[in-house]
């Protein structure tokens, strides 16, 4: 393991912490079995610190815990969660980004379609801090992802990209971006593929308070329906109380383009493979926003394995 890394492994109700970075401190480990709360604090360093979250599901216990993450002034953190959720889960992440801090969150999660999985992230950004949030998941029986972003100080930035691939599952996704300060910016992209009898909902909420001039906020949500019984509901909601803002939103869903499928099959590709290529292409547009080669590769692999 790189000396700047920290690894947190949860096995049922226990946690294993491997921490070789002097810039990451973790508290609450001893009490964790009772409290289910961990506190992680990241300090300023020259290099980006890394935290890997691993769920080692060898028990039938549901996994419930909360992480309080504090990224101090000038600190940089990359947080990777590649967990395979074999059981029900309820995970909360509370994050605070202090002045000039930088945070990249990569969630590449696989769920089982018999389970109920909840993920809740509440994130506050202070002056000149920046958060890039990438989430890739397949669905579970009931899957709820809720992210609340509070842009609390000037020049704070949020970039969120979510991909949800669902196969006969119910997936509910909500992103609330609250512009509580002037001169903050946010971009939110959400893409979903609904197969079988999946039902996917996306609520994209942008709130701009009345004193928040010079706000820039964009939201795009797109859905691809595979299968006649699948449903996608994309709901952009904009609450803007200031006129000096640049805000946009777009939402579109539909079935794969028949002309594209014909083009592919006319080259000798089977119908099934043509559909697969189409889905991968649809989801892959996000890769351009990831400027981390390793994570781009991981995201490509995730999409390839789950479509």
């Amino acid at each position: 393991m790189n000396k700047d890394q920290c690894s947190i492994t949860f096995n049922g109700t226990t946690s294993i912490i491997e921490n070789s970075s002097t810039f990451i401190s973790i508290s609450g480990v001893e009490e964790f079995i009772e409290t289910k709360i961990l506190n992680i604090e990241v300090d300023e360093s020259k290099t980006t610190q890394r935290v890997n979250l691993i769920l080692d599901n060898c028990t039938d216990e549901p996994i419930n815990f909360e992480i309080n993450l504090k990224i101090n002034e000038n600190a940089k953190l990359e947080f990777l969660d590649e967990s395979i959720y074999s059981n029900d889960s309820n995970i909360k992440l509370n994050t605070t980004l202090h002045k000039n801090s930088y945070f990249e969150l990569y969630k590449l999660n696989i769920y089982k379609n018999k389970n109920i999985n909840l993920f809740y992230h509440n994130c506050s950004l202070l002056e000149n801090s920046s958060f890039k949030d990438y989430s890739f998941s397949n669905g579970s029986k009931e899957n709820l992802n809720k992210t609340i972003i509070n842009l609390n100080d000037i020049n704070s930035k949020y970039l969120g990209s979510g991909v949800s691939i669902n196969n006969s599952t119910n997936s509910n996704n909500e992103v609330q971006i609250r512009h509580n300060t002037k001169s903050a910016s946010s971009d939110c992209y959400f893409k979903t593929v609904a197969k079988g009898s999946s039902k996917v909902n996306f609520d994209g909420i942008i709130f701009v308070d009345n004193h928040c001039s010079k706000t820039v906020s964009n939201q795009v949500s797109k859905g691809l329906l595979i299968g006649s019984e699948s449903k996608i509901n994309l709901v952009p909601k904009l609450e803007i109380y200031n006129d000096d803002v640049e805000c946009s939103h777009g939402a579109a869903s539909g079935q794969p383009d028949k002309n594209t499928l014909f083009y592919l099959t006319s080259r000798g590709i089977s119908k099934e493979d043509a559909e697969q290529i189409y889905v991968e292409g649809f989801l892959s547009e996000f890769f351009a926003t990831i400027d981390n080669d390793l994570m781009t590769e991981k995201a490509k692999k995730f999409i390839n394995l789950n479509t």
Partner: protein, 242 residues
């Protein structure tokens, strides 16, 4: 190689082809000319199996097989290739990855192993240089942001990689400048052989000056109203269709 008999085809309940019959032998080059809406693209897409074109009646035999019983995939794997007038853009899929996938589909059908990455890149470089295609184009998404000329050259490149028995070129000359037209025509001429037939759908004489057809057919109202040798194309170019 290809026998079309009394073919009637509709698009959205509008009859486009009316009792069309055409016979093409192996090694022959046929040009189809005609005014807008005469059914030129309809026959091209019907042969490739585009589901938007409904065959009402008639038959098409391709190398002894009933083409109308075959899915587009099967038609391609059996050696039929349509170069699109408007190649489709596929965002998110790089051209190199796409080209390798279509090649491997054909190789699988032929019982061959998938082409190795190194061998594919070498082949792609060779073909791209010949067609004057910038190699960086292959790292872009399929036909996305390509110029008109790049799209058409990409069609010819696919044609070359798949080595089909019957090539149908649907207005491949449209959108090509003089230099690109010559490069494209040269590549097609290289592919002409005794074992391969070509159908060239075009409005103009200029492509046929580079790729000389054995037969020229004039379409009007979904029928062939006149057939002849290459001099017919020259006459049409001077006198028009009326």
């Amino acid at each position: 190689m290809l026998e079309i008999n009394n073919l009637n085809v509709s698009v959205d309940d509008n009859k486009i082809l009316n009792n069309l019959s055409l016979s093409i032998k192996t090694g022959e080059v046929h040009a189809i000319m005609g005014p807008n809406g005469s059914g030129k693209s309809t026959i091209a897409h019907t042969l490739a199996g585009n589901p938007n074109y409904q065959v009402e009646s008639g038959s098409i035999s391709f190398n002894g097989k009933d083409l109308l019983d075959m899915e587009p995939t099967e038609r391609s794997l059996d050696g039929l290739f349509l170069a699109f007038q408007y190649p489709i853009e596929i965002p998110g899929v790089t051209n190199a990855s796409y080209l390798r996938q279509i090649m491997n589909s054909h190789r699988k059908h032929q019982g061959k192993d998938p082409i190795e990455a190194g061998a594919f890149l070498k082949l792609l470089k060779e073909k791209s240089t010949y067609l004057k295609i910038p190699f960086e184009m292959h790292s872009r998404f399929v036909n996305t942001g390509f110029s008109g000329g790049e799209k058409k050259k990409n069609e010819v490149l696919q044609m070359d990689l798949l080595d089909p028995k019957l090539i149908i070129m649907d207005e491949t000359d449209s959108g090509l400048d003089v230099d690109a037209l010559k490069v494209t025509a040269d590549a097609v001429n290289q592919m002409k052989s005794q074992n391969r037939s070509l159908i060239i759908v075009t409005h103009y004489l200029r492509l046929l000056e580079y790729i000389k057809p054995d037969f020229v057919h004039i379409f009007q109202n979904g029928q062939i109203i006149e057939s002849g040798d290459s001099s017919l194309a020259t006459r049409i170019d001077k006198e028009g269709y009326e």
